[in-house]
Symmetry: C2
Subunit: 400 residues, 2 copies
Amino acid sequence: MTHSLDRTDPLAPLRDRFALPDGVIYLDGNSLGPLPRATPAAVADAVERQWGERLIRGWNEGWIDAPVRLGGKLAPLLGAGAHEVIVGDSTSANLFKALVAALRVSPERRTIVSEAGNFPTDLHIAEGAVACVPGARLHVVPCDEVAAALGPDTAVLLLTHVHYKTARRWNMAALTAAAHEAGALMLWDLSHSVGAVPLDLDGAGVDLAVGCGYKYLNGGPGAPAFLYVAQRWQDRLASPLSGWMGHAEPFAFADAYHPAPGMKRWLAGTPPVLGMAALEVALDLWAQTDIAAAWVKAQALWTILADAGTAAGLECVTPADPAERGSHISFRHPQAHAIVQALIARGVIGDFRAPDIARFGLTPLYLSHAEVERAGAILHEVIATEAWRAPEYQNRQAVT
Amino acid sequence: MTHSLDRTDPLAPLRDRFALPDGVIYLDGNSLGPLPRATPAAVADAVERQWGERLIRGWNEGWIDAPVRLGGKLAPLLGAGAHEVIVGDSTSANLFKALVAALRVSPERRTIVSEAGNFPTDLHIAEGAVACVPGARLHVVPCDEVAAALGPDTAVLLLTHVHYKTARRWNMAALTAAAHEAGALMLWDLSHSVGAVPLDLDGAGVDLAVGCGYKYLNGGPGAPAFLYVAQRWQDRLASPLSGWMGHAEPFAFADAYHPAPGMKRWLAGTPPVLGMAALEVALDLWAQTDIAAAWVKAQALWTILADAGTAAGLECVTPADPAERGSHISFRHPQAHAIVQALIARGVIGDFRAPDIARFGLTPLYLSHAEVERAGAILHEVIATEAWRAPEYQNRQAVT
């Protein structure tokens, strides 16, 4: 099967940079990006040469600078300066650091505003953060009440830019401006945005952002996450997780904590070298990729699957306007779990999000238009024949 | 060169389980343990098969359970139940979780007591923790005043079991009892103990413990760390880093946080799969190793190097009594940095700790008595000839 758009696709050569198993159409790169072909050798080098042969000397030969180096490599994808991004810890831990820091900016502002149905760890961590600042509270409202919920008590507005379930995308510039108009900071969770849609954090005047390395970035399972702090905040905010790697002089071994200048103060413990090695390969691949071109292709892929799903009678819960969505698509169906299972059995890997969402990532680096068309045809067939009714697809199992 | 003790060393066969470079005597396994020979294949499997071929399905095929599974494998080395240990995050992050939780046990108890000169991240993180609990403070005293500093306001006594610089070891049972007598919890940092000396956390009645995976455990650079919470505290303490992986039902995607039962509540973000894969190999190797026998051999290795250093006229700052020390040895010398550089140039890798400590790990899994004897001879020669005076050794550079 061929597709006319594949013949002129400027990103088509990137497909060979990924090791995808035969017989699989992988529509779950928004949950776990696939393996870049260069990663095994890079990780093996980190294990066998850097660790095995260089041993402790590895720290002076690239490991200790990895959080800053990888932050600099990621920055262009965020529309950020290289000195505004650091890589390390998990998205959850970075969220905690950023939220507690934001709550401490002004004693008059004690509220985190966020959206009901936000990705769970955002709200869970926000609960943990407000418990760490006297008088702080978390105010969770439906998405259409977010702007109105901002007020003189708001310390920070916490939103996930692209919704994990629906792919609905907030207007970053508008919401950031609304937060600032209310005197609050703006913190974006970019886990479902980075590597999917073009971002311009500096241009939008964003204060803080976090996101994960293992989805569209293709950094590997449980890859280190990232944190963005706008230049203008870097001297004024500090990390509640004040570990030695964020110290101004970590190897002076002083008793008292003095935060490092710049982004290094957001580090806590020793960097996870093997995870960093895998993520760096992925960032180097992104450095050769035009995110604007990727987003153009993602829209075409999205339309192919949207048309197929709609033709099959599925309810699409993702906004049709590309300006209002990210790079995945979600259909609602009471049997969404069984449908996803039936698709996996047919080589089309998507995922299920409780209670009734079948979710598919349209990732332009390694998917062809023909593949997505084929996935759409299989989806149509699964729905039309009610193949999902087979007993083997009715067994519920959690997939992240 | 041979050494009589090597002929009857029951641990000698373990040497072949490690990939150590030729021409190196590695006395820095207390800072970064060397590469087990089985690790490259295990990491390659995690990268190429689990991630590359199984993709998102990896989460249901071992990844999601890794923190609990590895905790169970580590538990015997700690003298803990398998259900009392979890692996994940950094030592710093785990310290933060445990300290904040301990400070929240009783509103009448608001003080963390710790030791001046403790490993920096312990004190730095304690600073961060007290800032997260109203009225809390950090009380740092010299080591001989620790017991007297405990009082009705003490929430938790935080000590590092084996000192990173001097290798001095606290009496775990006695200090834990002293903390309990004062009505406080006891939190041990075991980073320089685990895999070095036999531990019995349950037997000593310890409440909380943390430690790192990349020193004596040989889990790799920046390996995931661990957290121990005694069974009796597991329902009463909760993590301030309340991320989704610690939720009772992470895949129900609920807005409100409800901590998981048992140790899972201490998880925050997505587990670092590659780092876990490397650490698991190391823990499996430890499962075949008798820690009591390792400690017996470590003492013999220690004596060989202590005798050589003392004969060279060096001041040993590590206690001679094995009950009062861990498995490394430290010498004080105003030219300690240059001495360590001169030794590295001669194939003996130790490390420097500011301002004047030369530090050497005696790690019995992969060091022979003959090697340590040879290292002692080289140390003696470097001191006797003042080889450290060469200009190339006077260039200061940080080594972790």
